[in-house]
Symmetry: C2
Subunit: 334 residues, 2 copies
Amino acid sequence: MNTKICIVGSTGHINYVLEGVRNDEQASVVGIAPGPEEEGVNGLLGAFSFSKNPPREFDDYEKMLKEMDPDVVVVACHFNNHARISTEALGRDLHVFVEKPVATTLEDLDSVKKAYEDSDSFLATMFGIRYRPTFSTAKKIVEGGAIGEIRLMNAQKSYILGERGEHYRKRESYGGTIPWVGSHAIDWLHWFSGREFKSVFASQSREYNRGHGDLESTALCHFVLADEVLGNVTIDYLRPEEAPSHGDDRLRLVGSRGVLEVRDERVFLINDEIEGVRRVPLRPVEKGIFGDFLNHVRGEGMCKVSAEDSFYVTETCLKARLSADEGRVVELGK
Amino acid sequence: MNTKICIVGSTGHINYVLEGVRNDEQASVVGIAPGPEEEGVNGLLGAFSFSKNPPREFDDYEKMLKEMDPDVVVVACHFNNHARISTEALGRDLHVFVEKPVATTLEDLDSVKKAYEDSDSFLATMFGIRYRPTFSTAKKIVEGGAIGEIRLMNAQKSYILGERGEHYRKRESYGGTIPWVGSHAIDWLHWFSGREFKSVFASQSREYNRGHGDLESTALCHFVLADEVLGNVTIDYLRPEEAPSHGDDRLRLVGSRGVLEVRDERVFLINDEIEGVRRVPLRPVEKGIFGDFLNHVRGEGMCKVSAEDSFYVTETCLKARLSADEGRVVELGK
């Protein structure tokens, strides 16, 4: 049985979908439409130009969903439209693979959660970094007990700003740097420690954003998790253009018996059994995030990114943003 | 003219003094005494066993100060006694070189500051890490403008806990991990950015401190500085015994045109002029902290660690500890 996929918009990490479909003979993209604000899909159409069965193009995503009756809807629009389209798709009992953040306001997030509860569909957000060889290797090492109980976590996101489109420059369409860039790192804190977030204090600044309007160029988030586990996230868009890579993702996990780090596309471990710093061999990637998602919706496995995690991390990001906006500690609770 | 030095206690970084005296023909240690809680100096006496003019030993530091009439008093006792002895020494118009933190309570700090204001003496605390080849090289690079305006700072202190003496295990004598370990890193944030601290939010935990009583094994501090400059400090005692070094000091400075890092006893730079990551050659150390201090008190130069910085950073540490103790944001102001 073929899994039919429709794509709405092409912002962000749509490459996860293209890669997943390329590696899956049972899945095909049957329709493509821009988002409600005309978010272009031209670049995306190019990706199918050599396909024997190219997807149909639509002007109107609602019409597409009605006519094509897909199994899966991929949502990657201006970030403020993710919630609305996800809610609509869940309302049609379609599975949803949505760019993070799932929503840019807590009210919108509630709508998606409600639509999810009322449906029998699955939803996952694009926390694709979990699937990188570094992060998936790190996860296995931690699960194997090599660092004991996690007590302290330091996560870093650092990006080249470049010249970004209009929808990055307005809070309303962008949502903020903490939800957009920080959500990955906030996901790591939760995913690795398995702990509930108890409170957050965050700060942010727009200084030196080079004409990017509302976009915050720096941010810091400080989390207290259950059992006094501590975690921080540092975020910036100040990575120089000449840097050796677009992003500099890092994670340092300090445990009761060792320290594990992801840095420079490598994983480093020190603990009470080994001498010196050991570079951990990376596990090959078995399946990317969209392949994992497709397995899940076909009942052939559990996607590493659950709907619950997607919602919980989004909520935590939005409350971290609230903390930064208002300069106060925000309590968090499941 | 010979600079006469008396030493009270021998905790912490007394090696700065030994090294400074060894390299200075015009300075000599003339007396050694334990602190008011009998803080031993036996280890210290060994260091002078081959000296032609070994220092006199005293049982009572007050008697020592009276009889020897030194120019400089070095204070390195149980941390809660630093303030009291510094205050007494300043009251005698002696110069004071004191282990950090200068004080373990804000009231004690006020006493030292008042004594300093009323005296013509100099005081500096042992922020010796500023003088390491890595940190002093980093400072020159930043002053040269290679990273532009500093916008975001991430500082790290990570130590092997080992088995520590009784005075580390009680808050009253130890003062807390944020003032003891964190003070270095909090000093870096201020020293590198030159900015005033505006607020702090901090957290800490004693979990997994392996029977060390009140000692906090992990801590996180989140600072907002003037002009929305952000800085965080991560502190832990969970570095495994088998690690390649006792401590893992790191500093990452994100500026408007580049990023500079101190890590693994090296300095790394990326900016908008160079391609890839550059390892910066380290400047040789010209003079250690105590040599610099001696120059200052002889009127031959300005010590890189000022009395104002010593007091300001101590105050900031104590307010960060207050934030962690009470779980609330603490406003900071000069």
